[in-house]
């Protein structure tokens, strides 16, 4: 666990819905306030699939972390970790690869403190309060924690994060900076909301998401694939979330596009 930071986080305003707490609510958690639940219900009313999207994203993360552990990865940098309710990356990673290191990064100070509480007493885990757009800070704080050795392969998890970064903040530049910071053989995981194959109400949901601190930007498959510049996508490439290496017993919906999100994992060349 890291000590107090000298960086004053952006304000803590529990009267504003938080993306992390809305996500938690969709995963059946109670780490949320009335304002978060009200927004979640409103989004769910507009887009009935949203809960499913959130849940399948979580399930994808579980499958992917197991896959990465199976590829020998022992360092995980989970950026935009949110408030982990159940099936947390560190639990999955440590179960699949005892001795692995996990660093959570989130911009929401409440999510950070929550993670800190959950991780208390768990070896080789840490939390950073940082903005994904500030890659330099993410990397330097991770190194300060002594948990991640960037000369060795590391898995960078950007699950449901990049769609919070508007084009004006150069998300491709953010990903490229992360790519340049990690060693060859490192992995990049992205799941990202999309309008591909979506009904129009998704656009409305996107507008509503503007009531959280950040707005969701829907991007198409080509745009998301471009973030993997310098990486080679592993099978099955960039696909709708339920299609990414489903477990043998999983029932894959015949309309996987309904989840409205792509997922992909690539290895750095």
């Amino acid at each position: 666990m890291t000590g107090p930071t000298d960086w004053v986080p952006a304000g803590i305003d529990v009267d504003q819905p938080s993306a992390a707490r809305v996500y938690d609510y969709f995963l059946g958690g109670a780490h949320n306030f009335a304002v978060d639940r009200a927004l979640a219900e409103q989004i769910a009313a507009m887009t009935p699939n949203i809960g499913e999207t959130m849940r399948s994203n979580r399930v994808f993360l579980r499958r992917a972390v197991r896959y990465l552990a199976g590829q020998g990865i022992r360092q995980f940098l989970d950026i935009g970790s949110g408030i982990p309710t159940a099936g947390n990356v560190h639990e999955i990673a440590l179960e699949a690869a005892p001795g692995a290191s996990v660093v959570y990064v989130d911009i929401d100070p409440v999510a950070v403190e929550h993670s800190r509480a959950i991780l208390a007493g768990v070896d080789r885990t840490g939390v950073i309060c940082a903005d994904v757009r500030d890659v330099e800070r993410v990397i330097s704080e991770s190194e300060k924690l002594g948990l991640i050795d960037f000369s060795q392969p590391v898995a960078v998890l950007l699950a449901g994060v990049l769609h919070f970064v508007p084009d004006s903040d150069d998300p491709a530049g953010v990903v490229a900076a992360l790519r340049d910071a990690v060693a060859p053989g490192s992995y990049l995981l992205i799941s990202h909301a999309t309008a591909d194959g979506q009904p129009p109400e998704v656009i409305e949901a996107q507008r509503l998401s503007g009531r959280t601190a950040t707005e969701i930007v829907l991007r198409d498959g080509a745009g998301i694939t471009a973030y993997f510049d310098g990486f080679t996508l592993v099978d099955p490439g960039l696909v709708f979330i339920p299609q990414w290496r489903p477990d043998p017993g999983d029932e894959v919906d015949e309309h996987p596009e309904r989840v409205g999100a792509y997922a992909g994992v690539g290895i750095k060349n």
Partner: protein, 709 residues
Amino acid sequence: MPPQDAAGRAVFARRWRRRVARAGFVPMDHGELGKLLRRLTGRLCVLLRAPRFDPRAAGEIGAALVGAHLTEPAVLAATVSVIGDHLVAAAGAGPGHRERVVQIQGAVAAGYVRALRAATMAEQERLNRAVLDAHATAERALRTSEEHLRAVFDNAAVGIGVSSMDGRIVRVNQAFADLLGYPVEEMCGLLVPQLTHPSDPPDMWRLYDEMIRGDRDHVRLEKAYYRKDGAVVRTDMTASLIRDEHGAPEFTIAMVQDITDRLRLQDRLEHQANHDPLTGLPNRAMIAAHLDRIFAGATRVGLCYLDLDGFKRVNDTLGHQVGDELLVAVAQRLAACAGEPGRVAGRMSGDEFVLVVADPDGPQELSALAERLLAALTRPYQLGQHRMRVSASIGVVDSEVRGTTPAELMKAADLTLYVAKQEGRGRFVMYDADRNARQAARYELAAAMPDALDRHEFTLVYQPLVSLADQRLCGVEALVRWRHPVLGLLAPDEFIPLAEETGVILQLGRWVLEQACAQAAEWARRFPELRVSMSVNMTVSQAHEPSLPFDVADILARTGLDPALLVLELTESAIMDTEGAPLRALDGLAQRGIRIAIDDFGTGYSNLAYLRRLPVHTLKLAGPFVNGLREPGEGGSVDEQIVETIVRLAHAIGISVTAEAVETRLQADRLRDLGCDTGQGWLFARPLPADEVTALLIGETTAPIYVNT
């Protein structure tokens, strides 16, 4: 346990798993979920068969589901429904267990809800704790950064002060206290208005009031402060208004940076740019700026423009070092005379100084001032071992500001100074508009001359010289005219003195000489037997120009004129050098065969002694002598005796005599009788253009002529 029981339980667990998986988010994979539900199925079967119902154990099954994060309400619905439909079959029990099934459903549901409620409360508590922790972290960070800020405040090199809205200084850092020479505690408690300085910008307190009222958030200006010890520090001051969370003004923060040194350097550079480094007086640029200010703000302006008489000689004879010392001493006396508000002395260049007076009382103030200046400047100077006196000439102008400009004022003063020089130096002259206009016109004319030469506005006419004995044309005198495009035809006395002053005479003189020689050469070729000579006038500065012999030789060579046909006419003053001795250059010219004539003889000192030592060939008698000649028998006048004496003397030393301004036949006859050789004047011919002279020469070849008889 019988094998069919195991198979029944497995079927139940599979059904249950399928229903749960459809119900909602399952944070585990199929294998894990199946394992959990198979275990719980076993416990359900035990509960069903137990002789006595154990509600606590049934509740634990519901709690186990919540513990596995199967928290979707639909999971409970699926569970209750699967138990109701299939548990009896799974356990291989009979229909008599109906009541027990209902008991199990109720207790599982109660356990689930209890656990969910506990989990929810725990999560809410964890979340609240996270919020509190986040606040604590933020506060810690804030405190750390506040400590940083305090360190910055305490250790900053710039002075920082905080004052409340009632103008009281409540906090200052060490730098600010040091800057003003107070202990920190003493400075706190001062009022902002106590820091007033006379040089504060006029609108500073208005800006401060605006800030106090909340109408302005920042002010930045240069401000001077009195230190506690009375010294002055000059600062770059920035004040900012800090508002409370409702936007109301709370206090002000001032940051001051000591720029005394910078301003001092700036002042020094500005002083250097505006002052003459030798004397320390304001220079031309600053005087110009000062005049601009006067013209903007005053109604009258006075100017003394002065120049030392003969300063060049001081420099030439005693060296620049002494010259510089003299200028410094002059500047000091000038500054002492100026020592009154509204009077500024300055050095314009070399030995030219000015004294500018704003709003003088009138011409009498300026003339009094000029008198004092002259008196002060002519007192002896002791410069090292040299004791000397100098005089100065002053042009004085007193004028209303309206209707003139600084440039016109300076020009008028300069012209007036020139008049003072001309009138004999060591004096001051008050500006006179008419004289100034004349002077200005003359200047204009002088300035136009070089261009006029280029544009061929000058022309030559020739006045014949006639041999008095036989009335033959023996020569001509070249006279220059200026066909001025505006003023018309100008006679030499209207522009030659000007040309002499400005130096254009050298250029003009060369041109005249070349034209005249070329014309004479042409006549000599056409009328070789007539031996017509060409007389050309030389001014003082032409005669003294070192290149004169070369110029003459060069022109003779280029025009091909026989030197014996050229006569150079010089006045007595032109023939003498500055020491009063005859010019050596004339010997060289005479040796080449060129003749020298003394013009206007009899009007100067007419020193007959030097005539013997000079290579002079002709004397030209000035007009007044000729004018005084009368009929023979009327009694010899004094003029007649003088003419006779001069002619005799001249002839005695081999010099011929020409009479100028011969206007009557009587005069011509008397002159011939007195032995005068040549005559020139309207009696014979006025100055004529070259072609008319040519016509005369053609007549001359057939019969002697004279005109106007």
